[in-house]
């Protein structure tokens, strides 16, 4: 029984990985250039932004929540940080404030959901609209550029560390830290518990509201970090940045095998899910699939992947 259960869940855990390998094999067959070191670095760098958000989304989804506002959070924090930098505030300080803002925007979501008892979907749908609106108000609908040439800031998106792009390094470090938190700390355990059975968690003395506020804050923080990388890479902050990022992040989490009902999943899967999406985006460009068809292929692959890895929701 025991063994069996573990085997089965092992298989389920490995399924996304097999999917990733399969996609890589197909793409490489069609364009061997895919496997070049420079392209792999390229893919990883492109993946890093979605992966960071998806890591945070994993925590949120593990508690049984969801966050649609994360793309808007990214846009707003990016714009405000860029605005501060453009107006001459010390870049490091501006970036720290940006991260803080991200955490605060996330905490607002968490607060509405935990204390206001609003369904996460609708709460973050509303804040998505609000944060997007605020971004437009703040930027007046225009990109913010002229961000100075702070080395730290430039490195964040464009630098290399031992030949590895800094965004990739950031992603790997974040992954390590978050993996550790989820696996080894009481906080991580509580995240699973709240998603697994909120009633039972509360009755075990866990402050479920606080856990929820924390996970949304964490996601906001990671979205802000992603926005810094994006702003650095583009050398400007876009008011429309991050549109649909929430959907890519959720797709990554689900592709990785985390259940949307909460309580079950792992962050390694999310990394693989993000890689699947990234490899797909890159690969379809590389193979030269016409853009109209790219969407069809992307949707079909996601569908296929979840169908193969289907979870009994009951």
């Amino acid at each position: 029984m025991q063994l069996k259960t573990n085997n089965q869940s092992m298989l389920q855990k490995i399924a996304p990985f097999i999917g990733l390998i399969l996609i890589i094999v197909i793409i490489t067959a069609l364009n061997p250039g895919f496997l070049s070191v420079s392209n792999l670095m390229n893919v990883l760098r492109q993946v890093s932004i979605n992966a960071l958000i998806a890591f945070g989304m994993t925590f949120v989804i593990l508690t049984g929540g969801i966050d649609l506002s994360v793309g808007a959070t990214l846009a707003l924090t990016g714009a405000v940080t860029a605005g501060m930098m453009a107006s001459g505030i010390d870049p490091i300080f501006a970036m720290l404030l940006g991260l803080l803002l991200g955490a605060v925007l996330g905490a607002i979501n968490g607060f509405i959901i935990a204390k206001g008892k609003v369904a996460p979907f609708i709460a973050t749908l509303a804040t998505m609209t609000i944060y997007r609106g605020l971004t437009l108000v703040y930027t007046d609908g225009r990109p913010i550029s002229g961000l100075g040439d702070s080395l730290t800031f430039q490195m964040l998106g464009k630098g290399y560390f031992l030949g590895i792009p800094v965004p990739v390094v950031t992603m790997i470090i974040s992954f390590g830290v978050l993996y550790f938190i989820l696996k080894k700390t009481t906080f991580g355990r509580r995240v699973y518990a709240v998603g697994g059975n909120e009633e039972a968690s509360i009755l075990s003395g866990i402050n479920a509201d606080r856990i929820k506020i924390y996970v949304y804050s964490l996601l906001g923080l990671l979205a802000a970090l992603a926005s810094l990388i994006l702003t650095s890479r583009l050398n400007s902050a876009q008011p429309t940045a991050g549109e649909m990022f929430e959907l890519d992040a959720i797709a990554a989490v689900v592709l990785g095998g985390t259940s949307l009902t909460g309580g079950r999943g792992w962050i390694v899967g999310t990394l693989i899910g993000a890689l699947i999406i990234g490899v797909l985006n890159n690969g379809l460009n590389l193979i030269g699939v016409p853009s109209f068809f790219q969407q069809v292929v992307k949707g079909a692959v996601i569908l296929l992947a979840v169908l193969l890895d289907r979870k009994k929701t009951a």
Partner: protein, 500 residues
């Protein structure tokens, strides 16, 4: 009537039923007994087409059948009352009763609502339930919801009715009227399969009994030719001895003293004292407000008035967290939805209340966690295949022990147990009683809510009886009898007649 032979069934490699036989004759009430996880529900689900068997044959009225859906079983005259409540709380009572076989105008699919409501009133009226059929089912107490489920099975004109622990949530009075109905139907030739962990019921209601142990058929007896002890022996495979073990605890100083507790629309004027080493029981009918009192004491529900003194100091308990920090534990009445994270492993469940003990600076120590698990498994005799076994795959009795284990880890000074043996088999029941005794002997104050009067009388030093949110009696051990408790539980005045 029904003949099941050589039935086997595995769930992902785990053999749950091994060549089980079962025969049901027309017009009999046939008990099915066995420890938690023996395979009773599984066998019944195979009969009613919810699970498919791996091997073996099922014959109904001499004809071999292979049901693949509950609908088919129903069409063959087999109705089931499942162990889990299957009430849809937001639909009306009438809708629940007719769910899946609504009465419509011809084949249009348009509902005859009025007609169904009229029938509902009548059917439930026959079972002694006077309700408004158009009210949402959520307005009924759990016991009354159970009666709706029973009515649902009765109203399809079934020839065989399977009842999987139908009385786990019923009051004595409701049980009486259920039994009356069963006997009436029996006279009309309906056969019953009756699953229960309550010995008294089996002996007063049933004609024959089949016993399962670990998925195997152990034997079949006529009730008139067997005894309480023999059945327990067959179920657990050994002598069990005295049902309620001895306790030698010293009742010490007052641990908890509450005065005038009140919660709007739930209870009021709740005052009592609980001492170290004492087992105080709260008895009462379903919905009397006992769980609400417990949850309010534990900080899970808000109080609207009253004071709580703990160790002589006045305290305010507004979150379960605070209660836990004070040394109060609460074993919930519904282990699946409030006690456990069913997807978590046993070890993780035990850890949930004990993070302080197994972690440092927020980091969980795997060693300490494992040590806690080992200690608890040994102390409570929890039967698991290992620390990683998912809680949902444990039998009911072992699940209940895990919930208790969660709280023993914090070394509680006051432990609230809400229906600690609901749906638990006799063997596990006795083990839980022993745990309660051991705790009391160590000086833990125990508040035990229970609807099973034998258990209350067997275990409690003192009993509070509640009726509609008020305490109607506070009886010491020597004054406890089933009749007296029932008298107060049903709202009898203070001047109780001596036992009739």
């Amino acid at each position: 009537m029904i003949n099941m032979t050589d039935i086997s069934k595995s769930f992902s490699g785990n053999k749950v039923l091994k060549n089980v036989h079962f025969t049901l004759e027309k017009g009999e009430i046939h008990a099915l007994m066995g420890e938690n996880g023996a395979g009773k529900s599984t066998l019944m689900k195979i009969m009613s087409g919810i699970y498919t068997r791996d091997s073996g044959t099922v014959e109904v009225k001499g004809e071999q059948v292979n049901f693949t859906s509950p609908k088919q079983a129903e069409e063959a005259g087999i109705a089931v009352i499942h162990q889990e409540l299957n009430i849809l709380p937001h639909l009306s009572i009438a809708d629940n009763l007719f769910l899946g076989r609504e009465e419509t105008i011809g084949r249009t699919g348009i509902l005859k609502t009025k007609q169904m409501e009229k029938k509902t009133r009548q059917i439930l009226g026959d079972l002694g339930l006077d309700i408004n059929p158009s009210d949402p089912a959520s307005t009924l107490s759990v016991g009354k919801q159970q009666i709706v489920e029973i009515a649902k099975a009765l109203s399809v004109d079934a020839e065989v009715i399977i009842m999987d622990e139908p009385t786990a949530a019923l009051t004595d009075r409701e049980i009486d009227s259920l039994f009356k109905t069963i006997r009436e139907l029996q006279k009309r030739g309906v056969s019953f399969i009756y699953i229960s962990h309550r010995m008294e019921e089996i002996f007063s209601l049933c004609d024959r009994i089949t016993i399962l142990r670990d998925g195997e058929f152990v034997g079949e007896r006529k009730i008139s030719e067997t005894s309480f002890d023999e059945i327990v022996q067959m179920m657990v495979g050994r002598e069990l001895g005295e049902r309620f073990p001895e306790r030698n605890s010293e009742i010490g100083e007052v641990k908890l003293s509450v005065k005038g507790l009140k919660r709007k629309d739930c209870f009021e004027d709740i005052s009592f004292e609980l001492r170290r080493g004492e087992v105080l029981s709260i008895a009462g009918l379903m919905g009397a407000g006992r769980t609400e009192v417990a949850q309010s004491l534990f900080g899970y529900k808000k109080l609207d008035g009253g004071t709580i003194e703990f160790d002589g100091k006045q305290v305010k308990i507004d979150t379960p967290r605070k209660a836990k920090e004070m040394g109060i534990g609460y074993v919930t009445e519904d282990r699946k939805s409030e006690g456990l994270v069913v997807d978590f492993s046993v070890e993780e469940n035990v850890s949930m209340t004990n993070f302080a003990a197994i972690s440092k600076n927020g980091l969980i120590s795997k060693d300490k966690e494992r040590k806690l698990y080992d200690t608890m498994v040994k102390r409570l005799g929890i039967r698991t295949s290992g620390p990683d076994q998912a809680a949902k795959s444990l039998s009911g009795g072992n699940q209940q022990k895990v919930v208790i284990a969660k709280w023993l880890g914090i070394e509680p000074k006051l432990l609230i147990l809400d229906e600690p043996t609901r749906g638990v088999d006799v063997g596990a029941k006795k083990e839980i009683y022993s745990i309660i005794n051991e705790l009391a002997e160590r000086g833990v104050a125990i508040l035990m809510i229970s609807s099973e009067l034998p258990e209350v009388i067997g275990m409690a030093d003192r009993v509070l009886v509640m009726h509609e949110g008020k305490i109607t009696a506070d009886l010491p051990k020597q004054e406890m009898t089933q009749e007296r408790i029932m008298h107060f539980a049903t709202g009898g005045g203070k001047l109780a007649v001596e036992d009739q």
